[in-house]
Amino acid sequence: MSLTEIAFYFLSFLAIFSALAVILSKNPVYSVLYLIVTFFSIAGHYFLMNAQFLAAVHIIVYAGAIMVLFLYVIMMLNLNEEQEEKTKNWVKIAAVVSACSIMLIMVSLISKSTYNMGKAPMAGDAGLVQNLGKVLYKDYLLPFELASVLFLAAMVGAVYLSKKETSKS
């Protein structure tokens, strides 16, 4: 086994087990922490695939911004005590069955597909900042600008929604 193979399997198992821990842990704070572990291992996968820019952005955006936002909300709602959820038994069984059937469908599709027949070019430096920036600012300039408008709308919406309602009369 080469070093990259070991790294791939280690990161994959880390991602899957911490994802499982996110779902199964009772305390929401632990879920957030395990989700951060998952995101770091996904960033490690990006590094393995030579997508350095995405790996850095992934850590900054997810572990740095989104997870902090989650932790703040959990702190403000005071949800950090362990509380038993009253999930009905048939809901649990239905969740297991439907997740397993989605997994089964996709695995059978992937293993039956003839996609890997051809030989594709392997450009190793597609994920470097220089190449990504060229594509982003040449071919995807309009979506890039629209994303900033989306952010503005999301920001206004978030501020408006979380504002405390003053007197209604």
């Binding site: 080469s2 193979e5 791939f8 994959s12 991602a15 899957i16 994802a19 499982l20 996110v22 779902i23 879920s31 989700l35 996904i42 996968h45 990006y46 393995l48 695939m49 030579n50 820019f53 995405l54 952005v57 992934h58 955006v61 997810y62 989104i66 936002l69 989650f70 909300v73 709602l77 949800l79 009253k86 999930t87 809901v91 649990k92 969740a95 997740a99 989605i102 992937i110 996609y115 890997n116 594709a120 070019p121 597609a126 994920g127 990504l132 594509v135 982003l136 995807y140 979506p143 994303a147 989306l150 952010f151 709308a153 999301a154 920001m155 919406g157 978030a158 501020v159 929604l161 405390k164």
Partner: protein, 105 residues
């Protein structure tokens, strides 16, 4: 079609499938709205892994640009979603989605 030595596109697709199925499982199993949000993030990231793997196989940067845009939309979604959650908690004093049964006949 190897991405790394001895690691093919199939390996990455299986990883992506496993993470996506776990996300679906979490959304269906947990009743806490914050946990459901986190599982949605998990599903988005599973799709991102598949996109980056395909981008690597084809040597095309567009796939990674799509991942970038997915991250943008996910960040906006989390900001608005958590604001909605705050409003929900202020009105109902719970984040349990089973408490939201006003539309039930």
């Amino acid at each position: 079609m190897e991405i790394l030595p001895n690691i093919t596109i199939q390996h990455y697709l299986w990883l992506s499938t496993a993470l996506f199925a776990l996300g679906v499982f979490g959304v269906l199993l947990r009743r806490n709205a914050i946990l459901m949000f986190m599982c949605i993030e998990l599903m988005l990231n599973a799709v991102n892994i598949a996109l980056v793997a395909f981008s690597k196989v084809h040597g095309d940067t567009s796939g990674q640009v799509f991942v970038f845009f997915i991250m943008v939309v996910a960040a906006a979604e989390v900001a608005v979603g958590l604001a909605i959650l705050m409003m929900l908690y202020r009105n109902l004093h719970t984040t349990d989605t089973d408490a939201l049964n006003n539309l039930k006949g």
